[in-house]
């Protein structure tokens, strides 16, 4: 290797050439796979730190080559096919909750990451307004910034930005278009017709006169209220004036800590 191989010091130095303790291939290469999703299949890529890219197959008419090109442009990392899906991915897709998955959101700003962390908590089949996300990240006036952060969501479907809607029953924008947003929500058994008819009647919150608790209409607890006990409200303030407190699960308004 060296010209003066007869020199023992040079030879000993040459022997310092050693492979890293574990191969760097998994540190450098991302893995990709195609898995069944809630509506059609999904392309999913992950680094050694977690899932970092999701694309519905129907948004990549060019097939895997289009997804791989999209990924390389987005992340600037090489890819190899994965032998199996990332741990927990298939159960998470079945349940509609990815809260236990690991994500690699390295390229995102702190604000974007906080927005995605809040959105990750929205349960399957429920929706929240953009203003709710803004309030939950502690920036109640940053409603538009929340919208922009969601457009940049590199892991849609898993981080369910389709569950964030405009107030008044309008679904609003979606990275892959409003029709797909609607299909995803219907696949989660959300009754969009009911949400819309409530919105037309200007009912944005539902309360139960037996518990005195007010919820977003899609909240699991709101859907259990029987018709005779159901009260509709235009705002949380209106509900509060009527003696209702916000639900601690869907948090439609500032929630007092339980005493």
């Amino acid at each position: 290797m060296t010209t003066d191989g007869s020199d023992p010091l040079a030879r000993a130095l040459g022997e310092l050439l050693a492979a890293p303790p574990t191969s760097l291939v998994d540190r450098v290469f991302s893995r990709w796979i195609r898995v069944p999703g809630p509506i059609g299949e999904l392309y999913v890529a992950s680094t050694d730190r977690g899932i970092d890219c999701v694309l519905p197959a129907e948004c990549a008419p060019g097939g895997s080559a289009e997804f791989l090109a999209h990924y390389r442009d987005l992340r600037g990392r090489p890819l190899l096919p994965a032998e199996r899906p990332p741990a927990g991915l298939l159960p998470a897709l079945r349940k509609g909750s990815a809260r236990s998955l690991r994500f690699d959101l390295d390229g995102l700003s702190q604000f974007d990451r906080e927005v995605l962390a809040v959105v990750l908590r929205i349960p399957s089949g429920q929706t929240r307004p953009y203003s709710w996300v803004a309030r939950e990240v502690g920036r109640p006036s940053a409603v538009r910034a929340v919208g922009s952060a969601l457009v940049r969501n590199p892991v849609p479907v898993l981080v369910p930005c389709h569950r964030v809607t405009r107030a008044g029953g309008v679904l609003g924008e979606y990275v892959f278009g409003t029709p797909m947003k609607e299909s995803l929500l219907r696949a989660e058994n959300l009754d969009l017709e009911e949400v819309r008819s409530l919105a037309r009647a200007r009912v944005h919150f539902l309360g139960s006169d037996t518990t005195g608790i007010v919820c977003f209409p899609t909240c699991h607890h709101a859907r259990r209220i029987t018709a005779p006990h159901r009260r509709g409200f235009r705002s949380v303030e209106q509900a509060a004036d009527a003696g209702y407190r916000p639900c601690r699960h869907c948090r439609p308004g500032p929630v007092d800590q339980p005493a």
Binding site: L16, A18, P21
Partner: protein, 201 residues
């Protein structure tokens, strides 16, 4: 032999970047890892630096056309990126106080030898590695490129961005100093003592 391998690697990169890059990482990870390990003297950072080096190399390759890829001098090119990566990391580290968030502290997940033991397979290598870390930076880098990575003197000069004469003098001064250090401390066992009768000590 080596040149042919590099040519084949470059042809593979020009053909299919990701598949070619997989072979490049497998073939050259010992080279890149050893150089950042010896240049930085920090085993705990060497893996991060080597992985970062390969990612930077990949991002650069994405912007190169076929002719530019085929014309690359693979080892000097990779090691130039490696040394830049290390210098940037060292500069960033000096700008802000060093702290390791608890959450990112490495966990010992695997049974068996730890990182250090795996990196340093023998006592002699450990000692020689430690002596190398005592050299002034310019000499250390030149010696590592010349004798650990096995670059030609022309390539060492290209990677260091200095005239060949300067590179030569860094290497020879580095070696001279290493010999002195060897004579001072306990000599690495792999190195025969000047008398060649080390078992009589």
């Amino acid at each position: 032999m080596e040149e042919e391998t590099d040519e084949a690697l470059l042809a593979g990169l020009a053909e299919d970047l990701d598949a070619g890059f997989h072979r490049l990482v497998r073939d050259h990870e010992p080279l890149v890892h050893s150089v950042v390990l010896r240049a930085s003297g920090r085993p705990e950072e060497a893996e991060d630096l080597a992985a970062e080096t390969f990612l930077r190399a990949y991002r650069a390759l994405r912007g190169y056309d076929r002719a530019r890829i085929l014309a690359l001098r693979l080892k000097p090119w990779l090691l130039t990126i490696a040394l830049n990566t290390w210098r940037n990391a060292a500069r960033d580290a000096s700008r802000r106080p060093h702290h390791v968030p608890v959450a990112t502290l490495p966990e010992r997940l695997h049974e068996g030898p730890g990182v250090e033991e795996l990196v340093e397979s023998g006592e002699s290598q450990r000692e020689l590695g430690a002596l190398l870390a005592d050299l002034p930076q310019a000499q250390r880098t030149a010696v590592v490129l010349r004798h650990v990575a096995g670059l030609s003197m022309t390539e060492v000069a290209a990677v260091l961005g200095c005239p060949e004469g300067t590179a030569k003098s860094h290497v020879s001064r580095g070696l001279r100093r290493l010999r002195l250090l060897c004579a001072d401390g306990p000599p690495p066992t792999a190195l025969p003592e000047p008398t060649g009768r080390r078992d009589r000590r």
